[in-house]
C-alpha cells in the first residue's frame, strides 16, 4: 500500500483514478490543480504523484518543477497523465523532472499496471 496524490482538474477523471487506486488498497489524496498539490505535498509525504498536465492555477509541468525542489520529493516518482496529441509535452515534463507518463485515455487496469511498475 502506498500513499498516492492524484492531481487533475477534472473531478470525474480524478475520482476514477482515486477510486481505482483505493480499490487496489492504496491511500489516495486528491488535488484539483498543481498549486493545491504542492500544498498537500508539503503536509503529507507521498510515495507517488499522478498529475494531469493541463490545469488551471498551476499546470502539471510547473508543479513537477517546483515539487522537485521540495525536501523529500527529489526521487519520488511523479507520473504525468498526458494525451496522445502532445508528444512534446512528454519531453517538457521530463525536462521538468517527471518520472514518466501515462497516456490518456487509460483504463483502470492500465493505471494499476503503471502504478505497480513505479512502486515496484
Amino acid at each position: 500500500m502506498a500513499k498516492i496524490l492524484a492531481v487533475d482538474d477534472s473531478a470525474s477523471m480524478r475520482s476514477m483514478v482515486a477510486f481505482t487506486l483505493r480499490g487496489a488498497g492504496h491511500d489516495v489524496e486528491e488535488a484539483d490543480n498543481g498549486r493545491a498539490a504542492l500544498d498537500q505535498a508539503g503536509v503529507h509525504k507521498f510515495d507517488l504523484v499522478l498529475a494531469d498536465v493541463n490545469m488551471p492555477v498551476m499546470d502539471g509541468i510547473s508543479m513537477v518543477r517546483e515539487m522537485r525542489t521540495m525536501g523529500g520529493y527529489s526521487g519520488v516518482p511523479i507520473l504525468m497523465l498526458t494525451t496522445e496529441s502532445n508528444p512534446e509535452k512528454k519531453m517538457e515534463g521530463k525536462a521538468a523532472g517527471a518520472t514518466g507518463w501515462l497516456v490518456k485515455p487509460f483504463d483502470p487496469d492500465q493505471l494499476l499496471a503503471t502504478v505497480a511498475r513505479v512502486l515496484g
Binding site: 526521487g75 494525451t83 512534446e88 523532472g97 517527471a98 518520472t99 507518463w101 485515455p105 513505479v118
Partner: protein
C-alpha cells in the same frame, strides 16, 4: 474486462463537461468582443481538452473524436499559429453546442455522431488544415528470429532524481525473460565525494528472451534522453541503436493567473430539501415551545426561558445557513444571455450591447430554475420588438448600438430583476388597436400609458406585424406573467416612447418560507403573505357600498376597493361578522388592490411553506399550507389568485 465499472463516473463527467462548455462559451464570447487575455484562450483549450480526455476514458468515442479536432484548432490559437478571429469563435461556439448535444445523447444511451456533428467536424477539420493528424505510431518491429537482447545502459547522474529507478526497470525486463546483469562501478567516486542521490553505475544486461524490440525499449521509454542506451538483438543482424536524444530544453510554460473562483460543493437537491424540511420542523417545534413562555409566571421558568431564547437563536441561524445552501448567484442564469443576445442580434442585423449587472445577487435554486425561461422571453422580445435596426436608431438621433440591461438587486425582502432596452418603447396606438380588435377593451380613451402597457400581458397578445421565428408564436407575455406569478412574483412594465422599455420582475427570496400575517376567519386560521399586504384597516359601515350583483366596495383613501370575504370564499364555519366588526387587509397583486375581510388579526409569523398540491390538491386562492405552533394546519392565501377570482366575478 476491468473490475472497475466506469459507468459510475458518467454522470459526474457529464455535469463537469456541461460546466466546461459553459466556461468555454463565456470565454469565447469575451474573446469575440475583443478581450485579449491568454487565460481566456487557455480556458477554452482546457475545456475541450478535459472533455476529450474524459470522453475517451469513459467510453464516449464519438465525443472524444469530435472534441479532439476542436481542441487541435484551439491549440493552434493557443500556440500562436492562428489568430483568434471571428470565424474561429463562430466555429468553436457551434462546436460547443454540438458537443453539448452529443453528450446529452450519450447520456440518454444513444451514442453516435449526428448529421450536424459530422458536417461541423468536416468544417473544423478543413480549418485545422486537413484531417486530424493521425497519431504517430512506432514503426512495427520487423519480425526477426531473435534469441535475446544485449543492453548497454548508462544512466546520467541525475536519473534517480527523476523518480526512475534502474532496479525497477530491471525487474520489468526480468518479466520478459531470464536476465543477467553486470555492473560497471568504475565511475563510482570516493565516499567523501559521493552524492547519494546521483547515479554512478553503468549496466550491461543480457536478456535471454525473444521479446519484441518495442517491449524491451518500452522499459526505457521514460528515461529516453536521461541515459546512454544501446539495445542490440542477438543472433540476428545488429539493428541500429537507439541514439540517445539530446535533452530537450524546456519550453517556456505560461504562468497561469491564479483563479479566484470560490470553491464549491455539489450537493444533491433532494438532500438539501430533506435538510430544509427538517429545519422547518425545528422552527415549528421552537414556535410550539415558545407558547409555554407566556402565561406561566413561575420563577423556575427563567431557565426554561433562557433555553428557549437560545433555541430560537440557534434555530434561526441554522435555518439561515441551511437556506443559504440553496442560494446561488443569478449569474448562473445570466450567463446564458451573452450568447443568446449575440446570436439574436446577428440574426436580426441589429447591434446590441448586453449590460449585465448584479450578477452576484443570490436567489433560491428553485426560483432560479424557473426564472430562466421568462427572462429569455423578455430578452427575445426586447431585441426583436424593442430595439430598432441601426439605421432607424441613427435616424432617431441615437447611437446605432442598442443597449440591453439586465440587472438583479435586492429590494426589501425581494429580489428584483430588470430587463431594460433603450429601443423605441411600446407603440401605444398599435397596442390599443390590437386590443380593440381582440375585444379586450372597447377603446383606449382615458387609459393611462401604464394601463395600455399592461395590455400586452393579456393572453394571445402580440404586436408583431409579422410572425418571426423568434417571437409571435403564441407564446406571449401572458406566459411570462404566469410563470413569474407561479413563483409568487410580479412583473411590471414601464415604457417611454422613443426611449425604451423596462420590465421589472419582483421575486420572493425563497419559496420555502414566507413572512405572513395570521388572521382568524370563523374557526379557521389563514396566513396572508406580508409582501402582498398594503395595510390593514378597520372599516366603518358607512364607508361600504353594495353593488349590483352582490358585491361590496369600501372606501380606502381615494379609491373604492372590492371586499373579498374569505369566510364566503373558503366556506368557513363560524359566526359571520358584519363589515364593521372585523378587519379588512388591503392586498395588492398584478397592480390591483382588493380588501380581504377577516374576523381578527392574530399576529405576524414566519411560515414554513408546505405544498398543498403535493399533499392534497390544488385549491384556487390557496398557495400552500403551514403548521401552526399549536399543531393545527393553516392555509396560506394566494393573493394573486384571489385578485383574479375577484376580477372574474366582476366580469361575470
Amino acid at each position: 474486462m476491468s473490475k472497475v465499472d466506469l459507468a459510475q463516473f458518467h454522470k459526474a463527467f457529464h455535469e463537469e463537461s456541461l460546466d466546461g462548455l459553459d466556461a468555454m462559451e463565456q470565454a469565447l464570447l469575451a474573446l469575440d468582443e475583443g478581450a485579449d487575455d491568454p487565460e481566456l484562450i487557455n480556458v477554452v483549450f482546457r475545456a475541450a481538452h478535459s472533455i476529450k480526455g474524459g470522453a475517451a476514458t469513459f467510453g464516449f468515442a464519438d465525443v472524444a473524436a469530435f472534441t479532439h479536432v476542436a481542441e487541435n484548432l484551439m491549440d493552434e490559437v493557443r500556440s500562436g499559429r492562428r489568430p483568434m478571429e471571428k470565424a474561429v469563435v463562430e466555429l468553436l461556439l457551434r462546436s460547443g453546442d454540438v458537443i453539448r448535444d452529443m453528450l446529452s445523447l450519450q447520456m440518454a444511451g444513444q451514442p453516435g455522431a449526428t448529421a450536424e456533428s459530422q458536417s461541423l467536424l468536416a468544417e473544423l477539420s478543413a480549418m485545422v488544415g486537413g484531417a486530424a493528424a493521425p497519431v504517430a505510431t512506432k514503426a512495427a518491429a520487423p519480425a526477426e528470429a531473435i534469441e535475446g537482447w544485449d543492453i548497454a545502459f548508462r544512466p546520467f547522474d541525475y536519473l534517480l532524481k527523476t523518480g526512475n529507478d534502474p532496479a525497477r526497470m530491471f525487474r520489468e525486463l526480468e518479466a520478459l525473460g531470464p536476465l543477467a546483469t553486470t555492473v560497471d562501478a568504475s565511475k563510482l567516486p570516493s565516499l567523501a565525494d559521493m552524492d547519494p542521490t546521483a547515479s554512478y553505475l553503468a549496466y550491461t544486461l543480457r536478456l535471454d528472451a525473444g521479446a519484441k524490440r518495442a517491449a524491451v525499449e518500452g522499459v526505457f521509454d521514460w528515461v529516453d534522453g536521461d541515459c546512454e542506451l544501446t539495445v542490440t538483438p542477438r543472433v540476428a543482424a545488429p539493428a541500429p541503436v537507439a541514439a540517445p536524444a539530446a535533452p530537450v530544453a524546456p519550453r517556456a510554460v505560461r504562468e497561469v493567473a491564479a483563479n479566484s473562483e470560490a470553491s464549491s460543493v455539489r450537493v444533491g437537491i433532494e438532500k438539501i430539501d430533506m435538510l430544509i424540511n427538517l429545519v422547518g420542523e425545528l422552527v415549528i417545534t421552537q414556535a410550539m415551545l415558545s407558547q409555554f413562555n407566556e402565561g406561566v409566571g413561575e420563577a423556575r421558568l427563567e431557565m426554561f426561558r433562557h433555553g428557549l431564547a437560545q433555541l430560537a437563536r440557534h434555530t434561526r441561524e441554522l435555518q439561515e445557513s441551511v437556506m443559504s445552501i440553496r442560494m446561488l448567484p443569478i449569474s448562473t442564469v445570466f450567463n446564458r444571455f451573452p450568447r443568446l443576445v449575440r446570436d439574436l442580434a446577428q440574426k436580426l442585423d441589429k447591434k446590441v450591447v448586453l449590460d449585465l449587472r448584479g450578477e452576484t445577487t443570490e436567489l433560491d435554486k428553485t426560483v432560479l430554475e424557473k426564472i430562466g425561461d421568462p427572462l429569455v422571453h423578455l430578452v427575445r422580445n426586447a431585441i426583436d420588438h424593442g430595439l430598432e435596426v441601426p439605421a432607424k436608431r441613427t435616424a432617431a438621433g441615437k447611437s446605432d448600438t442598442g443597449t440591453l440591461r439586465m440587472e438583479a438587486f435586492h429590494r426589501g425582502g425581494s429580489i428584483v430583476v430588470e430587463v431594460a432596452d433603450d429601443g423605441a418603447g411600446l407603440n401605444r396606438d398599435a397596442i390599443v388597436a390590437k386590443a380593440v380588435q381582440r375585444g379586450i377593451i372597447a377603446s383606449g380613451e382615458g387609459m393611462s400609458d401604464d394601463a395600455v402597457a399592461e395590455l400586452i400581458f393579456e393572453a394571445g397578445f402580440s404586436t408583431a406585424a409579422t410572425t418571426t421565428d423568434l417571437s409571435g408564436r403564441g407564446v406571449g407575455m401572458d406566459v411570462v406573467r404566469r410563470n413569474v406569478m407561479d413563483l409568487g412574483g410580479t412583473v411590471n412594465i414601464r415604457s417611454v416612447h422613443g426611449k425604451g422599455t423596462t420590465f421589472t420582475i419582483t421575486l420572493p427570496l425563497t419559496l420555502a418560507i414566507i413572512d405572513g400575517l395570521t388572521a382568524a376567519v370563523g374557526s379557521e386560521t389563514y396566513i396572508v403573505p406580508l409582501v402582498s399586504i398594503v395595510e390593514s384597516v378597520q372599516v366603518k359601515a358607512d364607508l361600504v357600498r353594495s353593488v349590483v350583483g352582490g358585491g361590496e366596495l369600501f372606501r380606502f383613501r381615494d379609491e373604492w376597493l372590492p371586499i373579498v370575504r374569505l369566510f364566503d370564499v373558503f366556506g368557513c364555519d363560524g359566526e359571520r361578522l358584519s363589515v364593521d366588526q372585523g378587519i379588512v387587509i388591503v392586498v395588492e397583486a398584478e397592480g390591483t388592490r382588493i380588501g380581504l375581510f377577516v374576523d381578527e388579526l392574530i399576529g405576524q409569523q414566519q411560515a414554513v411553506v408546505k405544498s398543498l398540491e403535493a399533499n392534497y390538491r390544488r385549491v384556487v386562492g390557496i398557495s400552500g399550507a403551514t403548521i401552526l405552533p399549536d399543531g393545527a394546519v393553516a392555509l396560506i392565501t394566494d393573493v394573486t389568485g384571489l385578485v383574479r377570482m375577484q376580477a372574474r366575478r366582476k366580469a361575470a
